[in-house]
Each structure stands twice: as C-alpha cells, then as structure tokens.
C-alpha cells in the first residue's frame, strides 16, 4: 500500500491541474474556452474523477470512524460539484446557482480536513497542513459563492483558481512524519526519508 503522504501528493497533482485550467479559462474567456468541446469538460470531469478516486481513499485509508465519514462525505461532495459543473457544461443545467455545489464541496472538504485531524497545529507538519488546508477551503468557499451571483467576476475567478494552487502547494508539502517550523511532537513518530 502506498503511504498516506503519497496519496496527498497524487491529489496535489490533480489539484494543480484544476488550478492551471481555472487560470487558463479565466485568461482565455468563456467563448474561446468553449471553442473545442473536449476542453469544456476537462475541469468538471477532473473534479468529478477526483471525487470518484476519494472512494478508494475512504476504503483503504480508514483509520477510524471519523476518517471514514470525512473521506466518504468528501467523495460525495466532490462528485456532486463535478456532476453539477458537467451538467452546466453539457447544457442540461442552466442556472448559475449550480455553482453553489462547489461552495458546498469546499465547505464539506474543509470541514472533513478539520474534523479528522485530532492533533493541534504544531503537532507535526501533517497536522499543521490539515488545519491550514481546512481553513483554506472554508475561507476559499467565498469565491464560488460570489461566482454564483456574479459569474463574470474577475476577482472571484482569480480567487477560485488561486485556492486550488494554494491547496496543491500545501498537499505537495505534506509528509506523514515531519517537523513544521521546527516543531515536532515526540508522540508523532520517527521522521523517515
């Protein structure tokens, strides 16, 4: 089995791609972005796929009940947000308020990060990053919330894309057992490579 930190790095790669796609879409504009049909499905398809891939994470990385609930609800929220965006992209859904599913996904994801981290901020790097990732997602949910009511807002679009890049950086920084700003609890275990 791969270590938990590796799974975080793999999801970091997906999140980095989501951020790059968001920025490119913002710079190109919605009309140019929609010129090739396959391109319109990249972002929502990737988000939905990441939701699907959370199920094996739930299955194989369940250390406790709270882990299972956090990972399971996270998977459902990501899939719902991805499906809503796919519906809007395909023209099956029309209201901009479907963007509120992304708000819900970010709030659920952020809460999942926070509730399944039982240690304090400076216990270890993983604990610190779970706290910071949780709050990044919860505070970052304001950007898709603004987009639901003002879909063409540049600030909201840039903020939404930046949240993904910030999450990617944090996920790439994650280690199972490592110090954070010189702090590492003696109960955290022995750091490895």
């Amino acid at each position: 089995m791969p270590r938990a930190e590796m799974v975080h790095w793999w999801f970091a790669g997906g999140t980095l791609m989501l951020g790059l796609l968001s920025i490119a879409q913002l710079v190109a504009g919605p009309d140019v972005w929609a010129m090739r049909a396959w391109r319109r499905y990249l972002w929502p398809g990737l988000l939905f796929s990441m939701g699907v891939l959370m199920w094996p994470v739930m299955t194989f990385y369940t250390n406790s009940t709270i882990h299972m609930i956090a990972h399971g609800s996270w998977a459902q929220a990501l899939m719902l947000a991805g499906a809503a965006e796919l519906g809007v992209t395909a023209g099956k859904l029309h209201s901009p308020y479907w963007r509120l599913c992304s708000v819900g996904a970010m709030l659920v994801s952020g809460t999942a990060f926070l509730v399944h981290e039982q240690q304090a901020w400076f216990f270890s790097r993983a604990a610190f990053l779970h706290h910071s990732l949780g709050w990044t997602l919860i505070l970052g949910a304001v950007f898709p919330l603004v987009q639901a009511f003002r879909p063409r807002s540049l600030v909201a679009g840039l903020g939404f894309a930046s949240v993904f890049l910030l999450i990617a950086v944090q996920l790439f920084s994650d280690r199972d057992t490592a110090a954070i700003f010189g702090h590492l609890s003696q109960f955290a275990g022995v750091p490895h490579r």
């Binding site: 270590r3 970091a12 790669g13 980095l16 190109a28 140019v32 010129m35 490579r193």
Partner: protein, 90 residues
C-alpha cells in the same frame, strides 16, 4: 486622426491584447515546469530515483513529487495551452 488610422490602431490594440493573453496561457506550462525543476534543485532528496537503493515500488513510483509538478506542467502545456493559444489567435 483619420478613420482608417483609428481603425488600424484599434485593430493593433486588439491584436496586442490577444497576443498578451495567449502569451500568459502559453507561459503557465513552462512556469509550472520551472517550479518543479527549482523544487528538485532545492530538495534533491525528494527525487527517489536519484538514490533508489533499498526503496520499494511505491516510493520509486509515488515519491517523485517534483516530477509530478513537471509532468503537470508538460501535460497542461501540450494538451491545453497550445491549442487554446491557437484558438485565441484566430
């Protein structure tokens, strides 16, 4: 200013803006690749294949984090940015 000159200036401005936007899109991929390369230079121990002795399959495949950043940049650049920039130049 003649109408013809004003029209030319307007066209030039639009073209320049489009070129700038296309450049930004085209720059995202190489910037990501550069970030991955810089990360590998700063923390070479994050590249497991440089010292693979005694490491298992998952570390050799799943532990090459700076390469993931480079890979994301390459895929984005070739698959998304180049066709998008072509569409923006039309």
């Amino acid at each position: 200013m003649s109408a013809e000159l004003a029209h030319e200036l307007h066209e030039h401005t639009i073209e320049h803006r489009r070129t700038l936007r296309a450049r930004i899109v085209l720059g995202l991929g190489p910037a990501t690749i550069l970030a991955g390369v810089l990360w590998a230079l700063v923390q070479p121990y994050r590249l497991v294949f440089l010292h693979p002795h005694g490491e298992g399959f998952w570390w050799l495949v799943g532990g090459e984090t700076p390469l993931y950043v480079v890979l994301a940049g390459v895929v984005f650049w070739r698959v998304v940015a180049v066709p998008l920039a072509e569409d923006m130049e039309r």
